[in-house]
């Protein structure tokens, strides 16, 4: 408490002496205990533009800073159990393919936490995010900062060529807009674009099954009118949203299981086969079946949804 008062006193005298706010804050921070001082100094440095973002806008420092909050959700709220994380190759390009539900990408976030906490050689995954997010103020900024990119195959290809871990959700909007009664029933996987990418870049595909994410926003209907007004691809109606306003976006505390499946090697086919429709659809179906089967297995293993 005393430290806080000294901090404020010094801050005021600094400002009165004609210093600019960031400089005055940095000067006054000397009154604080070491941890707090470091945090304040770092914040001041960031305000001066001294922080690193890669060419995609990914900000590792920022992502690490929000990490404890996500860990809380992971441990306490959803009690996530993860299996098979060691099957994700530790080096080089990897394409993670997962089921998807809900307009807020909690499934992607929890996959990232699982990888960062349990993988022997953790690295930050990158995500292909629904394009609509990049039209929105704040949301677009946040998505880029934590590793999201717009859902263009060109982006995915460049990321894979940079030997990164890339997560895609081939169900796309169809998955995000799933009705509650259709939970854990995989929607169509489009034209298999993700398989073409994996073949072209010779990246292994790791199917991922996420159980729990499809119960957090039980969608019972949608509003065409509100979708048109907000420009959203669809506007979900759940028992709590939009009835309870902002409270309605609090996700339900279902119990989660995430399983990373055996990688599917695509390098045996050669990049020229990316045009081979039969092969592409065959692998896409194989991935889809693997995820669907693993979803059912984990649903059984999980038992009751909420307890």
């Amino acid at each position: 408490m005393n430290e806080a008062i000294t901090f404020l006193r010094r801050l005021r005298s600094g400002l009165e002496a004609g210093l600019e706010l960031p400089v005055a804050v940095a000067g006054a921070a000397s009154a604080l205990p070491r941890d707090a001082r470091k945090a304040v100094e770092r914040a001041v440095e960031r305000l001066g533009g001294d922080y690193a973002e890669d060419e995609w806008g990914f900000d590792e420092e920022f992502t690490e800073a929000v990490f404890p909050l996500l860990e809380l959700l992971y441990d306490r709220w959803w009690r996530v159990r993860v299996t098979g994380v060691e099957r994700v190759p530790p080096h080089g390009r990897v394409l993670l393919v997962a089921n998807h539900a809900g307009i807020l990408p909690w499934d992607a976030t929890m996959m990232a936490v699982a990888l960062l906490r349990h993988h022997p050689l953790p690295r930050h995954p990158r995500f292909l995010v629904l394009n609509w997010a990049f039209h929105l103020p704040y949301v677009s900024v946040l998505m880029r900062k934590v590793g999201g990119v717009s859902a263009s195959p060109h982006n995915a290809q460049r990321l894979l060529e940079q030997d990164r871990l890339v997560a895609v959700f081939p169900e796309g909007v169809k998955g995000a807009g799933k009705d509650f009664k259709d939970r854990y029933r995989l929607q169509r996987f489009g034209r298999g674009g993700f398989v073409e990418l994996a073949l072209k870049t010779r990246a292994p595909i790791v199917p991922v099954a996420v159980v729990g994410s499809e119960e957090i926003y039980p969608k019972v209907g949608e509003s065409r009118l509100l979708a048109r007004l907000t420009g959203a691809p669809y506007f979900p109606l759940t028992p709590t949203f939009p009835l309870l306003g902002p409270l309605g976006i609090v996700p339900l505390p279902s119990k989660w299981r995430i399983e990373f499946c055996e990688p599917i090697d695509t390098s045996q086919h050669g990049p020229g086969r990316a045009d081979d429709r039969t092969l592409v659809l065959e692998i896409a179906e194989q991935v889809r079946e693997t995820i669907q089967r693993t979803l059912y297995e984990n649903l059984v293993r999980r038992g009751p949804t909420f307890v």
């Binding site: 600094g14 600019e20 394009n131 039209h135 103020p137 900024v141």
Partner: protein
């Protein structure tokens, strides 16, 4: 190779003059001519100055006598010059290019045309691929006047390249330039006392450092390739970081208030922001440099962030006492 005869349009622009000096020192270049409607500010060496307006049909009479084998078209305006109407800028860009190409139709000696075009043709789109490659120029509708102008210029060149397969047409698509000696829309924006931004947006921006811009042009003149080539310094920078590095206070505005506020600011003496630049500030734009590196054989020396830092360093040295730079001084104990 050797014995090149080169014509540069827009010789009186800073880049035109710099390019002439670089090529004057090149023993492979036998003869250099520079066209512009106004005399060059600095004296040229062995470059012959030809006073002509590229919109003038008389250019077609003048060119054959010069017997050039390479034309560098460096007269595409990114924004109207001071006191110039947007209509005149449009005329210089579109009709000027058309006249120049018409004049080039009759040049039997011509082997290559290198154009300093603009990456503005891609526009700025929220969910676009993060890095535009050259074949993506028609991915989205053309939304601004400048974008349409650039599109039209590119169409002329594509048509010309089809009709005259013996001539190599290189369309260089430049990202906005930044650098110590430049006065561009970007530098004016960063120099204004308060910097308007879009509330809740932090676009990825990409610039080309002035020396990278010059060297890329020199490289393309030496090794012209067919078709479009993106030109930029490597990497991107977020607008928020850019403005913080420049130590400027921001004025975040909701999208609906942005244009009217900027217009009011312009009347009060703040810099004008063109529709293209406004979209850039909202959604950003970056380009892929694979063709530039692999085919033209030029790798930029700067990253976008280093280019920005170099410009800001020069600005600080030029004006060491402005209040915005006080944060550089060590904090008082």
């Amino acid at each position: 190779m050797g014995g090149h005869r080169v014509l540069i349009t827009g010789i009186s622009t800073p880049l035109g003059g710099q390019l002439a000096r670089r090529l004057e020192a090149d023993p492979d270049v036998d003869y250099l001519a520079g066209v512009d409607s106004m005399p060059p500010p600095a004296s040229l060496g062995r470059t012959e100055f030809v006073e002509a307006d590229i919109r003038d049909p008389a250019l077609a009479e003048l060119l054959p006598g010069l017997r050039v084998d390479t034309v560098v078209h460096n007269n595409i305006l990114r924004r109207p010059r001071r006191g110039m109407s947007p209509q005149t800028a449009h005329d210089i860009n579109v009709l000027g290019t058309l006249q120049l190409l018409t004049a080039c139709e009759r040049l039997g000696t011509l082997r290559a045309i290198v154009v300093r075009g603009s990456a503005g043709i891609y526009g700025s789109e929220p969910a676009a691929p993060q890095f535009f490659t050259e074949e993506m120029s028609r991915l989205y509708p053309q939304r601004t006047r400048f974008q349409r102008d650039v599109g039209e210029i590119e169409n002329y060149f594509a048509g010309y390249a089809r009709r005259r397969p013996a001539v190599t047409c290189t369309m260089l698509r430049y990202q906005p330039a930044i650098g110590p000696s430049l006065d561009t829309q970007v530098t004016r924006y960063l120099a204004s006392p308060v910097v308007p931004t879009y509330l809740g947006f932090d676009p990825r921006l990409q610039f080309v450092h002035e020396t990278d811009g010059l060297e890329a042009l020199v490289a393309a003149v030496r090794r012209p390739v067919r078709g479009a080539v993106n030109v930029a310094s490597e990497g991107t920078i977020g607008l928020t970081k850019l403005v913080r590095m420049a130590r400027r206070p921001t004025l975040p505005l909701p999208a609906s208030l942005f244009a009217p506020t900027v217009e009011a600011g312009r009347r009060a003496g703040l810099p004008m922001l063109s529709p293209d630049f406004r979209r850039l500030l909202r959604y950003g734009r970056a380009v892929d440099l694979t063709r530039l590196v692999k085919e033209v054989g030029f790798r930029p020396r700067f990253t976008t962030e280093a280019a920005v830092a170099d410009y800001l360093r020069a600005r600080r040295e030029a004006a060491p006492t402005t209040s915005g730079d006080r944060a550089n001084e060590p904090p008082a104990a």
